[in-house]
Amino acid sequence: ASAAGNPAGPYDTTEEQTPYEDVTSYNNFYEFGLDKSDPARNAHTLQTRPWSVVVDGEVHKPQTVDIDQLKAWFTPEQRIYRMRCVEAWSMVIPWLGIPLGEVLKRVEPTSRAKYVAFTTLVNPEQMPGQKRQVLDWPYVEGLRLDEALHPLTLLATGLYGRELPPQNGAPLRLVVPWKYGFKGIKSIVRITLTERQPPTTWNLAAANEYGFYANVNPAVDHPRWSQATERRIGEFRRRPTLPFNGYAEQVASLYAGLDLRENY
């Protein structure tokens, strides 16, 4: 898509975009506090430069790359995606980013690579929420390699044509639009390709509520609330939640033969 904000790419939604103000003031980022308004208030302590990302594990060309170097290797693309939180609210966000697959191809995964593990920065001085053991720090997430290579999967560096604000996961965060928002790990410092399925933070915190896949699925409820509907931020009435958050056409085939009730 073009950077001007007009949807043109094959993956862009034409739905009304959530205002910048809401996207940057209503965040789940427990490293900066538990309230939705905490990250916008507290995340200014995050130092996003210099920032380097380690890419290692089952790759032929492991490396540590500076964030600006990484951005210079590729041309950031705009992608207008729906974002569905596991808490049953949603937004439409124009991201700027690099397809994760392009980054992975550059480091050449070995034949043993089956999964991709992501790690967030640990720094309680910069991330005051880490002074309390609310979750096991660092926040970790993971994808199957084929999910990571899917063209929809993005490493975001910006939104609304601007730098990513710290409360949204600067300088580099994952965006997987067909999965619940908590898969979108923020402020990434390490990307490791692995042979085995990596642990994920919310799965470790409550395995019966949050699975490894976390695909948006209106038919599989969270144990404590229904996932059949959602509230689009800014709207009054709930709307039905779509399988794979409306991206079924592009991604459903990745899960052929997999029981999505078991693998939630």
Partner: protein
């Protein structure tokens, strides 16, 4: 000495108790409640329900511990305000959040423990609000009325369980409510045991 009449006491508590609601309305109208207004209203009305429920349950312990009589004159008002906030909380969920989708609400109440527990707490408060008048006390007789109103202990426990169950990760806040409730019920339990001992050890007629 008899306690002073304090004529301003009830109006002050009424105004103080309704001011968080007024603030919520003003902030809502001015667009100051953030991106998810319904979530804020749900959380605030739920929190206020528990605050007033605990406040109403604190009146008797204050009388027992400090021999203050004025809190007892506020007990009914505090209880009714807890009920009013509980009803607002439920209506926000049922009408605003769920858009009165009765099938979905029924499913929530019957299948989801945390909603079932909250709903049950509200249902237990209904007969207490209905029989809160002096006429009801006379009609039922004080012992029966008092037995009925002990349901508030169950409702408060269920309310705190509802809060604990709802929280995604950090339990600090609901556990503070739980600790205060345990203290208030504990004081009553100690007093009940002492009363029984007193009755047993008092000289009986031959």
């Amino acid at each position: 000495m008899a306690s002073p009449p304090l004529p301003w006491l009830k109006p002050a508590v009424l105004v103080g108790g309704l001011s968080p609601l007024a603030l919520l309305l003003v902030q809502g109208l001015q667009g100051e409640l953030g991106a998810n207004v319904i979530e804020v209203v749900l959380n605030q009305t739920g929190l206020l329900t528990l605050v007033f429920l605990l406040a109403s349950l604190a009146c008797t312990p204050l009388k027992l511990l400090f021999a203050w009589t004025w809190p007892m004159r506020l007990r009914k008002l505090l209880g009714l305000m807890a009920f009013a906030y509980a009803v607002l909380h439920f209506l926000t969920y049922a009408v605003v959040d769920q858009g009165l989708a009765l099938g979905r609400i029924f499913q929530d109440v019957t299948e989801r423990g945390f909603i079932a527990v909250g709903f049950l707490a509200l249902m237990l408060l209904v007969p207490l609000a209905v029989t809160s008048t002096n006429a009801s006390v006379r009609r039922l007789g004080f012992p029966a009325w008092q037995r009925l109103h002990r349901l508030v202990y169950v409702a408060a426990v269920l309310g705190v369980v509802h809060f604990v169950w709802r929280v995604k990760k950090d339990l600090t806040e609901p556990l503070i409510f739980g600790a205060i409730l345990a203290l208030l019920l504990g004081i009553r339990a100690v007093e009940a045991v002492r009363k029984r001992r007193r009755v047993r050890s008092s000289p009986r007629p031959a």
